[in-house]
Symmetry: C2
């Protein structure tokens, strides 16, 4: 009995010791992030010196070189580029749109949806039908749709607390609207921007034609939320008004680009890999500071902090800046393929692609045992106001990694402002708060550290 | 035994029923806030139609009339003004500051601290001594300080997770710097802005001369964080550079103003009062959207939601928009005095004065029983990402309410961005996100509802 008590006491001492050293490490991580991290400076460079980084653009290429150089300065064990062929799509001239009201032209702020085809050179002029959903479109049927411009105008539902849920239940209009309307003979689509705020900024984002043959694809554009409301109102006054829009976007052959990879080799299990990443490409209207410059620089900051704190991870910690999340996920797919081909053993992957806002917690994809283990660290995160440990989607780029029993985690920042900027011209450096960005980086480093030390694998 | 089991079962059913109806009410409150609240429109009016609302200003008077009118439109049981005499202080002409470097003048962005005296008409030119604390000032002593301008340059410490802690451990320079430096013969003080961000905006805020006679008061100004760093660097190069500043601010006799009060009379205990409020006055550089227009419109929104949801509170729910929190707390003190004089029974008071950012929880001042009761509602708040139930300071304006056993609560929003705007020219409408503001209002309405229904008093 005495022995058992002594053993229990020893166990307790050992648990408290480990808890205390974890507490101390998290404290050191958050301090490092808030006082010496370069993540905000890197974002400044990515946003203000390089700018938009759409796959295949000069900006994307510069961003590859810049982040590779910065990683080399961190003294990592390896820094390299992973080749990947990516789509190249360009917006062309500024888009133009108006409603013809008698002799007057009421203009609207629009932008081509990503991967959309252009209009004929002189644009498209046609009657407009407003619908709220793909179902409503299908109910109207080919006879009503043929020759028309379809205006998808279902707003994001403000009742959701997490704005990503509102996005998820609305974005089918943008991703599938052109494909479905085209099948019914429409000549173009205009989609209400995925934005919970009322403003004048159109938000781009990918539209997906699926297997629609090239010659049957119809052009698709986003209209600002204010524009959508104004257009809807005018169409209610007179359904025979014609809408005009012109865009000169076009797709080219795929071009060579890269995922940027850097790593600290594990001291105990160099063959076990823990990935942390974001995507380096961005849409072209702003400079992609929130989406996803923030996630890239936070991921780099995780390794920077480990180096600064002289932390020697047991497992290999690998940062991956994925190319082409926005319009193809070619970088994520390539990374997954190569990992499978090389028989790499990925035990953990963390993605930050929900903006650089105040971190609230994690969205976790794993088996129950791993989930419970991670959830058991809640009290360690409490001083840093990290409280969300949800089961759910982790990230698009880490999706294709196929290792057995891998734990995948998405950083979950406060989501309220994300869609104010998402894919729009105001996704710029000043939309990111330095401390919020740094706290996100610290939260990422903390879960990487805890899994490296205490993870089940 | 059977009877006990039946009783226990009944008790459980009754608890679940009440939990369910509370859940439903919170759902309805959050929905109402996100879909039909006027709080954002009110803030737009306060910020963009009225503007700055420093006590005794035309803006403050307009804000009193505007909020009274808006409350009258809500169909409350009572709406009235409570008279209070408040200080009147004006900034005068734009302040001017430079460092004389040979024949060159290197200018700096400064602003007079609130309640500061002006400089002589032609300004002050003197040698500067930089200090990091009041202790350092005292150690230097009168011989070194006499005739000098004292430059308080201790930065806010970025290591704190909650920025209010960084503010609290730094603001003595602003509030007491001029008083203490004046005692030692200094001719003026320049204080580094209470701002965690590096930028060019000076942040005002009250400086407190205590019982220093009027003729012995020395002028005090804030300098932007970038300005403070640049000044510090130049002074290290050459300690003999002289600093010049000029400000024409002045204080006038107190003037009549008002707290704005509205209430819904309680159905069961009309004599028991639950207060919710913010402060209507603001500093003069921006328009006080975050500090504290947000808190005012959120407080009004609580009563608006109760009316819209046809909720009939058991206790009297009273909104109070306090005048003069920034430079005197005359409104808060007056409200407390009148409550005591009239023997009013206040059981609860909630203040929102930490900005209109995403709500995280509450800071609670109460006895342990009440604290435990409120903390027992945590699970009800979880769907709304409300997770902080701290014991601590509630609010400045509700401080003077003296009822026995009153529970006082401060809304605790995310604090990361607050000091980017606090008391500065960029505290404007566009610094407030509509959803964040609304979620704060819903969180306030929810705790008011829960206490009204389930509070211990």
């Amino acid at each position: 009995m005495k022995k058992i008590i002594v053993l229990l006491l020893l166990l307790q001492v050992s648990i408290s010791f480990s808890q205390t050293s974890d507490e101390q490490m998290l404290k050191a991580i958050y301090k490092s992030a808030l006082t010496e991290s370069h993540c905000y400076t890197w974002l400044d460079d990515l946003s203000n010196k390089i700018g938009q980084r759409l796959s295949g653009s000069v900006g994307a290429e510069k961003a590859v070189q810049y982040t590779k150089q910065q990683m080399e300065l961190l003294g990592l064990d390896k820094v390299y580029l992973q080749e990947v062929m990516v789509p190249k799509w360009t917006r062309g001239e500024k888009e133009l749109a108006y409603l013809q009201i008698g002799k007057q032209k009421k203009t609207f702020p629009i932008c081509a949806l990503g991967m959309s085809v252009g209009t004929p050179k002189n644009g498209i002029l046609a009657n407009v039908i407003e619908v709220k959903s793909l179902d409503e479109l299908k109910e109207l049927g080919e006879a009503r749709i043929k020759g028309k411009i379809i205006f998808f105008n279902r707003p994001m539902n403000p009742e959701f607390i997490e704005t990503f849920h509102a996005y998820g239940s609305c974005v089918d209009q943008r991703s599938s609207g052109a494909r479905e309307a085209g099948k019914l003979g429409a000549v173009g689509v205009i989609v209400r921007s995925m934005n919970l705020r009322m403003d004048d900024l159109p938000h781009t984002g990918m539209t997906n034609y699926g297997d629609t043959p090239k010659e049957s694809r119809i052009p698709a554009a986003a209209i600002s939320t204010n524009g959508a409301n104004a257009l809807s109102k005018l169409l209610k006054e007179n359904t025979s008004y014609k809408f005009y829009f012109k865009q000169s976007c076009q797709a080219f052959d795929d071009v060579l680009s890269y995922n940027v990879v850097g790593e600290i080799t594990g001291t105990e299990h160099p063959e076990k890999i823990m990935v942390v990443g974001g995507h380096l490409d961005s849409w072209d209207l702003g400079d992609g500071s929130q989406d996803d410059g923030a996630g890239c620089v936070q991921s780099m900051a995780v390794l920077e902090m480990f180096k600064k704190l002289s932390y020697k991870p047991k497992n290999t910690i690998r940062v991956v800046l994925f190319m082409n999340e926005e319009n193809g996920v070619k970088g994520g797919n390539k990374y997954g393929e190569v990992a499978t081909k090389n028989n790499e053993n990925h035990i953990f992957a963390l993605e930050s692609d929900s903006g650089g806002f105040s971190p609230r917690g994690f969205s976790i994809e794993s088996d129950d045992k791993n989930y419970d283990k991670i959830a058991s660290w809640k009290n360690l995160f409490e001083p840093y106001l990290i409280h969300v440990f949800d089961k759910g989607h982790s990230g698009t780029d880490i999706g294709p990694i196929k290792s057995d029993k891998i734990v995948k985690v998405g950083l979950q920042p406060d989501s309220q402002r994300y869609f104010d900027y998402h894919h729009a011209a105001n996704d710029k450096f000043d939309a990111v708060n330095k401390r919020e960005l740094e706290l996100g980086a610290a939260t990422m480093a903390s879960i990487m550290y805890l899994f490296d030390q205490n993870g089940l694998q």
